[in-house]
């Protein structure tokens, strides 16, 4: 019943899951290969989408549509637009690297670990491609258990605390999202279809409540300033692959949620909350950077830098103009690449020295020149050096912010300066510091597998940094649509819709399904 020809997206969802099931039947050493094969297969399914995607089209592409539950009408509907395409591609690209990064470092219960990684991939891709709100929620929540296990089983010494903290924070945030979804269903014409809900209009007071409910779910995931405390714990305790998934992909789901749901569905509330969101973003930018300056643990430093960088993303989203939002989407991808790479780098050095403290990893340039080169590349990308990916994204965000408020821009720029400070200071010590002679025993440089993990990301850093246009042009039309849809007129009934409702659950579903079928 899919309308877009070949079911690319379903295949993308099924491949990792099939890999996870296959892993149940094999030995530990084969599990690694199966995981690698499954993630690579998913990548090869995802890559053609880049060329098949029509940048001019304004509607969803590669759509698939199957009725899942009839009462109420919940559909298995998938699709890609200019916002989700880069995120799906990034997810597909990051996952094989996560498998490679865990090749030697995970030694216990390898099958379980690899299976969890693959289940995560399905859930994460599902979040980005779901076009039905309930389906989205199912994927969104389905991530919790595998991530909880990844941190709790294979994590560091304080993993139990970090795992349950991550779990409860995100669960508590997302239960409010469920109620908001149900309320939207009754106000938005008895549908869970994300596109239909985005076209609806809702009373202003309702929008405020819904915005707060969405905010609870998405702000925890991003994480925005007062809700960020789970992040350093989770990052530090998670195994390398877990940290990479968290930083590169999981955090993007929060900002993706804001962009996909809050802005188009609740435009009035989004505008009303803009000052608050911008303020929180700027606090996150400066506070995260400031905290990063004080860290002695490399993973914690990068974790706090994530808080700061994600502040740029939320800032770009909520200045509500073309430059800001395009910059935000670009920055989501950039942060995924750069921070993911930095976590991979930390993981590699941890495997060698068994310490993540900066003081224990000083002066790596001499024993590990290749490693040091790559680390410097990613570090420079993190601080937004022109020519690297983050520069383009942060620049666009700042331009967008400038159009909204010059003062806000000045404060946000402070974050970039602080980023330069903590990054360069870290690089200075880790790469060029003078090690105590006993501190660094014989460190071997990167092996083939590790190079294969890092080099693709370094290429992406320069590609997006030098030629951002292919990426930006693919998201341009969607962002234009989002902004256009935000200015639609808001006249809406204020009565509770079920009062005069057309719909007993059982009776009208068939009819609704039919009309939906024809409108697609």
């Amino acid at each position: 019943m899919h309308s877009g020809g070949f079911p690319w997206l379903s295949l993308l969802l099924v491949l990792p899951l099939a890999g996870a099931i296959a892993i149940y039947f094999v030995t530990e050493s084969t599990a690694r290969w199966i995981a690698l094969a499954a993630t690579l297969a998913a990548l090869f399914v995802a890559l053609p989408l880049w060329w098949l995607f029509d940048p001019q089209a304004s509607q969803m592409q590669f759509t698939e549509h199957i009725a899942w539950i009839t009462a109420p009408p919940i559909n298995y509907s998938l699709g890609l637009d200019g916002i989700s395409l880069p995120l799906v591609l990034m997810t597909a690209a990051i996952m094989p690297l996560c498998v490679l990064a865990s090749w030697d470092s995970i030694t216990t219960r390898v099958r379980g670990f690899m299976a969890m990684l693959l289940v995560m991939e399905t859930a994460m891709v599902g979040v980005f491609v779901a076009l039905d709100f309930v389906l989205f929620y199912v994927f969104w929540e389905a991530m919790l258990i595998p991530m909880y296990l990844l941190i709790g089983v294979w994590g560091g010494p304080n993993r139990l605390y970090a795992a349950i903290k991550f779990f409860l924070y995100t669960l508590a945030g997302s239960v409010l999202l469920l109620v908001a979804i149900l309320v939207l269903y009754f106000y938005g014409g008895h549908t869970f279809d994300i596109l239909a809900l985005s076209r609806g209009t809702y009373p202003a007071s309702l929008q405020t409540w819904l915005f707060l409910a969405f905010f609870a779910a998405f702000a925890v995931k991003v994480p925005m300033f007062p809700f960020h405390t789970w992040l350093p714990d989770a990052h530090v305790e998670a195994p390398t692959a877990g940290s990479v998934i968290l930083a590169s992909i999981l955090l993007k789901m929060g900002t993706y949620g804001f962009l996909r749901f809050s802005l188009p569905m609740l435009p009035d509330a989004s505008r009303a909350f803009t000052p608050m969101m911008v303020t929180l973003s700027i606090i996150a930018i400066i506070y995260g950077a400031y905290m990063a300056l004080a860290q002695v643990d490399l993973k914690k430093l990068i974790a706090y830098s994530s808080v700061s960088h994600m502040g740029f993303v939320t800032l770009g989203l909520f200045v509500l103009n073309q430059q800001g939002i395009e910059g935000a989407v670009l920055q989501m991808v950039n942060h995924g690449i750069t921070t993911g790479a930095l976590f991979l780098c930390v993981g590699m050095i941890y495997e060698r020295t068994h310490s993540r403290l900066i003081a224990d990893n000083v002066g790596l340039a001499t024993p590990m020149p290749q490693y040091a080169t790559l680390l410097v590349i990613f570090a420079l990308s993190a601080l937004g050096l022109p020519g690297t990916n983050s520069f383009v994204g942060e620049f666009l965000v700042l331009v967008g912010t400038f159009l909204w408020s010059k003062v806000a821009t000045a404060f946000a720029s402070l974050g970039i300066i602080l980023a330069a400070a903590y990054i360069l200071w870290m690089v200075q010590r880790v790469v060029f510091g003078v090690p105590a002679p006993h501190q660094l025993p014989k460190l071997r440089d990167l092996n083939q597998r590790e190079l294969a993990t890092l080099v693709p990301l370094a290429l992406l850093v320069f590609w997006i940094g030098l030629f951002p246009n292919p990426l930006v042009s693919r998201m341009h039309q969607t962002v234009t649509n989002t902004i256009a849809s935000m200015s639609r007129t808001k006249v809406a009934p204020t009565a509770h819709p079920s009062a005069g409702a057309t719909a007993p659950l059982l009776a009208d579903n068939g009819e609704q399904l039919q009309t939906r079928g024809t409108s697609r």
């Binding site: 993993r159 795992a163 109620v179 149900l182």
Partner: protein, 495 residues
């Protein structure tokens, strides 16, 4: 005989269950201990026969066959519950086989009592007369008192039985008092007459309100809703685990079925009053159940509090039905209760089946600590427990999420979004104690000093029960459509 022929035919499944129960109890003394399995298989055969009959009894929807001059009725609503009860009873019997042997209490009359209890439940779900429902309730609980105390060598089991009996008798007295007041008012114990009397006397009649409150309290005990839940933790902990599972699932389902029929068909005119009452009860039930469960160290006790909380969630669906406005009426709310309890049955049965056969040498490992490191020793068993716990916490893509989804959907439709918010926040709280079980299984290493760490003792019967439970949890989580439409059709006859 011919006078009652049609009536007896309508009651044929109940009759088969009662006759089989008598047969089992009669055959027990002449069955050698080694062949007592046969009694279980006999009971299962009777269940299979009843399942076929019940499915065949109702050819079309909206058929309502009354029997014995409107004492019982055979309709789609009763059919739904009966099918659920057959399934639950069958799985309980299967999980009892290895469990009773391990506990050395493999007595033939156990199966007789299970069937007697089931027959009581069947009368409850199809009764449309308060006295019939009362008799069904008594038959169900009397058998349960005996089964609770079956483990005569364990003081805890006897204590549970005595406690259950005293509180059960007390609550039955209250229920009966309420019924007598309703009889005094309506001149009949039939639900239809009561509904008529409620219509003529109006909702403000003090006698009617007192009677409603008494009946609510009586059913509150059976549902284990706060503040009538006190017996639950002790009884669930003390009873043999297979009996606990049976109580937590079957007795709760049957009580909900009778409770909903009484309040919708008999006291529907008082909707505005009782929906407020049950709103408060649902709220305190799920808050208290979830909060107190956090501090439990015994997993049976923890699941007892969890079952209290789940009764609270199911009550939300019922409250939503009572407060529903608009064309759809209370249908989604009532159906959500059916869906919720069905899905709850699978995960609870699975969890209890696992707990019962997690043996520390010869004794049952019923502390949460006993699950420590299970994932290393028996990964599959740990994974099954993980699925059940995740489902109880209501996290997709498991059945528990679907159950909660429909309940909250009905609540939001009835304008109770705030209630859904509170209930969902406490669902997040509940995740903490469910995840603790996952945590000890997966993230703690077993205590090296313990000589014989607890292991799941497997047997074909147990494997079958676990397979059914996990299949129900996952398949209904992914494809809830058949169950949902079945439930929506089944509540249509409840008017």
């Amino acid at each position: 005989m011919s006078l009652y022929g049609a009536d007896l035919l309508a009651l044929l499944p109940e009759l088969i269950v009662v006759v089989t129960a008598c047969l089992v109890i009669g055959l027990d003394p002449i069955t050698p201990a080694s062949r007592r399995d046969l009694l279980a298989w006999l009971s299962l055969g009777a269940l299979a026969l009843c399942l076929g009959l019940t499915c065949g009894q109702i050819s079309a929807l909206n058929v309502r066959v009354s029997a014995f001059s409107d004492l019982v009725v055979v309709d789609a609503y009763a059919r739904f519950w009966k099918i659920l009860l057959y399934g639950v009873t069958g799985l309980t019997i299967l999980m009892s086989l290895p469990y009773l042997k391990a506990e050395r209490i493999h007595l033939g009359e156990y199966y007789g009592f299970i069937l007697l209890s089931l027959s009581g439940m069947m009368v409850m779900v199809s009764g449309v007369d308060l006295l019939t429902i009362y008799l069904g309730t008594e038959l169900m609980t009397l058998s349960l008192y005996v089964m609770t105390g079956l483990n005569r060598s364990k003081p805890r089991s006897l204590e549970a039985s005595a406690k259950y009996f005293v509180l059960g008798a007390f609550s039955s007295g209250i229920l009966l008092y309420g019924i007598s007041l309703l009889y005094g008012m309506a001149g009949s114990t039939k639900l239809a007459s009561i509904a008529g009397a409620v219509g003529t006397r109006g909702a403000d009649d003090p006698l009617l309100l007192i009677a409603t409150i008494l009946v609510s309290v009586g059913f509150g005990f059976k549902l284990a809703a706060v503040p009538f839940h006190m017996w639950t933790p002790d009884v669930y902990q003390g009873a043999p685990t297979s009996v606990t599972a049976f109580m937590a699932v079957a007795s709760k389902a049957a009580s909900f079925a009778a409770f909903m029929r009484v309040f919708v068909e008999g006291l529907g005119g008082l909707k505005a009053d009782w929906s407020l009452l049950f709103l408060l009860i649902a709220l305190v039930t799920l808050v208290l159940g979830n909060v107190v469960a956090i501090v439990q160290t015994n997993i049976k006790r923890m699941l007892a509090y969890s079952s209290i909380a789940h009764a609270g969630y199911a009550l939300i669906g019922f409250v939503a039905a009572g407060r529903a406005v608009g064309a759809s009426g209370g249908t989604p709310g009532l159906a959500s209760v059916l869906i919720y309890l069905t899905l709850y049955s699978f995960m609870t049965l699975g969890a209890f089946a696992l707990i019962g056969m997690l043996r520390k040498g010869v004794v049952e490992g019923e502390e949460i600590e006993d699950f420590t490191g299970l994932a290393k020793r028996q990964p599959l068993a740990a994974f099954l427990m993980l699925v059940f716990m995740v489902s109880l916490a209501g996290i997709p893509p498991t059945a528990g999420f679907i159950g909660k989804f429909y309940v909250f959907m009905a609540a939001v439709e009835a304008g109770l979004a705030w209630l859904a918010v509170i209930a969902l926040i406490f669902a997040a709280v509940s995740a903490y104690y469910y995840m603790r079980v996952v945590m000890v299984m997966y993230m703690r290493d077993p205590n090296p000093s313990s000589v014989a760490p607890p292991r799941l003792v497997t047997s074909p019967a147990l494997s079958f029960v676990l397979a059914c439970a996990v299949a129900g949890v996952i398949l209904f989580g992914l494809f809830p459509n058949p169950l949902v439409s079945f439930a929506l059709q089944s509540v249509l006859t409840l008017k």
